[in-house]
């Protein structure tokens, strides 16, 4: 697979504070790469370095084989950005905003007019074309931001928390459009706090914590790393065994309970489920619900981020 973004030992310091600490990763052409981390972990700083807004203190990175420092303009010609804390020009109309971004990216007149019209249609903004951006709601402005990023015809799209604080409809529309464009070959670098969004959209994710990469892999594979967070969920009808009884079953590592419901964490959920059924047979108890589950991406995220915090490992 061809590499779209390659980062090597990239570091950014602000005085004594190390915001990003020797991170390294590759993003391949045509993938949606998730970049996850708690607040202040270094996600936005990483994006700002890759998009040429700030320089790395150490290390290097390339975008479509162009060094972000030595060939900054060439590397920026391949990308578009929707920054987290950004806004459109509220005193310009929807159409003027799009034309401005396209012109800054040197898109020809015919192409920008054609693309802008097409994107406005897809994002449901055609009727608001002449409206001033200040008259748009937050959701519509975010759609316009995405539209302005896409009208430049980027090969790589950087999205920093694109659906944060949006209404359900706008968030879903943005996810859908990004996924569709990705299927047509667009490479996407996505930071998000929404784990289900990352899980649903990203082919690979990196988890960054305190400026360092804690893990990089496909969401499925990351889930396997913490196999101890697999679980059996059981809900009993009237009477339920007590906590100690369930804990004594072999291979159960931890139990969370809520009245008649229990979640038993284990490495071998199938075996524990069988044990639970046997126990309920022996005791004549009725099981209303029984299921097994894998850890979510959120569990993986918490595992990597809290582990580092507890261990204080930097």
């Amino acid at each position: 697979m061809e590499v779209a973004i390659e980062v090597q030992n990239m570091t950014r310091k602000y005085g004594d504070l190390v915001a990003v600490d020797h991170v390294g990763f590759k993003v391949y052409q045509g993938e949606i790469f998730g970049f996850l981390g708690p607040n202040g972990a270094g996600k936005t700083t990483t994006i700002r370095m890759l998009t040429g807004v700030i320089d790395p203190t150490e290390g290097s990175a390339t975008i479509q084989s162009h060094d972000i420092r030595k060939e900054s303009l060439l590397s920026r010609a391949h990308i578009s950005v929707v920054p987290e804390e950004a806004n459109v020009y509220v005193d310009l109309s929807v159409w003027q905003n799009l034309m401005l971004m396209a012109e800054l990216h040197y898109v020809t007149r015919d192409q920008r007019v054609h693309e802008a019209g097409r994107l406005l249609e897809i994002l449901g903004l055609t009727e608001r074309k002449q409206q001033k951006a200040r008259e748009l709601s937050k959701g519509l402005r975010q759609r316009l931001m995405l539209c302005a990023a896409l009208v430049t015809g980027p090969e790589i799209l950087f999205l920093d928390e694109p659906t944060s604080g949006l209404d359900v409809e706008s968030a879903r529309l943005i996810r859908q459009i990004v996924t569709d464009l990705n299927q047509k070959g667009l490479t996407v670098f996505l930071t998000t706090h929404n784990m289900s969004e990352a899980s649903e959209m990203c082919s690979r994710v990196a988890i960054i914590n305190k400026g360092r990469i804690a893990a990089i892999d496909a969401p499925e594979k990351l889930r396997l790393i913490i196999s101890s967070r697999q679980y059996v969920e059981v809900h009993f009808a009237d009477t339920a065994p007590d906590h100690i009884e369930l804990e004594s079953l072999s291979d159960v590592l931890q139990i969370d309970s809520n009245k008649q419901s229990f979640r038993l964490y284990t490495n071998v959920p199938g075996r524990v489920a069988t044990e639970v059924v046997r126990l309920s047979d022996r005791r004549g108890m009725e099981i209303v619900h029984l299921s097994t589950g894998k850890p979510s991406l959120e569990d993986v995220f918490l595992h990597f981020t809290s582990e580092r915090e507890e261990g204080g490992s930097r």
């Binding site: 602000y14 700002r48 998009t51 040429g52 807004v53 700030i54 900054s72 303009l73 060439l74 920026r76 010609a77 990308i79 950005v81 929707v82 920054p83 804390e85 950004a86 806004n87 459109v88 020009y89 509220v90 005193d91 310009l92 003027q96 401005l100 971004m101 012109e103 800054l104 990216h105 040197y106």
Partner: protein, 255 residues
């Protein structure tokens, strides 16, 4: 191949500067701080200067033109960057394939056009309403254009400190612009100023622009024409390079 790529890069950056100029003209020319500090200020200063004094009206015209140019050309620059920072549009702008140098050149161009266009008003009013006449159009035009260029560069430099509040930068810009106004031979010809002021006057670009504009109207000037032309070009280059340096230095702190 390398030369071709260089030419392409230059073309794109010049195009980028023109797009920035267009954006600034659409967004900032009619913003209240630009109108207050760029148009009302010089009008009030003119009235304060002229009223109650027995100066021939035609002698006031070059000063009026120079003062209007000073305020208008340097009014746009200090507003643009802080406004963009506050409106959260700055980060996206600097991640486009337009270099910061080209963006700043576009900002300077915005001040140049704004100042040059508005300075036409006192020129025309002066010619129409007083006995003032243009003795040398090339000198007058050179004074206005080079003056606007250097004043606009100063304005862009003043926008470099990492403040996201436009009023703070406007305050800073007035702290610089107002004292320079008084030592540049606008109200009192440089030759008649105290010796200490005559030593400071060469540090202000307004002194040289004022000299060229006076020459354009056929008045005596303290500085020779060649020196005024040279100094205005020098001021523009130095202020532009300083703008590039300080905007780059404070870029991340202003996000």
């Amino acid at each position: 191949m390398t030369v071709y790529r260089e030419v392409q890069t230059w073309r794109r950056q010049i195009h980028g500067s023109l797009v920035i100029f267009k954006k600034n003209a659409l967004l900032y020319y009619l913003k209240p701080p630009v109108l207050i500090f760029g148009v009302l200020f010089p009008a009030f200063f003119f009235l304060a200067f002229k009223m109650g004094r027995s100066i021939a009206a035609e002698n006031v015209v070059p000063s009026m033109v120079a003062m209007a140019l000073w305020f208008t050309a340097s009014a746009v620059g200090p507003l643009v960057t802080p406004w963009e920072r506050r409106a959260k549009t700055y980060e996206r702008l600097i991640s486009t394939p337009v270099s910061l140098r080209a963006i700043l050149a576009g900002d300077i161009l915005s001040g140049l056009v704004f100042g040059t266009c508005l300075s036409v008003v006192p020129v025309l009013l002066g010619i129409a309403l007083t006995d003032a006449s243009v003795a040398s159009a090339p000198l007058l035009i050179a004074g206005i254009v080079l003056g606007a260029l250097s004043f606009s560069s100063l304005g862009v430099l003043l926008a470099a400190p990492p403040a996201s509040s436009p009023p703070n930068i406007m305050l800073l810009s007035n702290l610089v612009r107002l004292p320079l106004l008084f030592i540049s031979g606008i109200f009192v010809p440089i030759g008649q100023m105290p010796v200490w002021a005559q030593w400071i006057a060469p540090l202000s670009p307004l002194s040289y622009a004022s000299a060229l504009i006076r020459s354009g109207f056929g008045h005596y000037t303290f500085f020779p024409i060649w020196l005024s032309l040279l100094m205005l070009v020098l001021f523009t280059v130095v202020l532009y390079l300083a703008s590039c340096k300080f905007h780059t230095m404070w870029l991340s702190r202003g996000l």
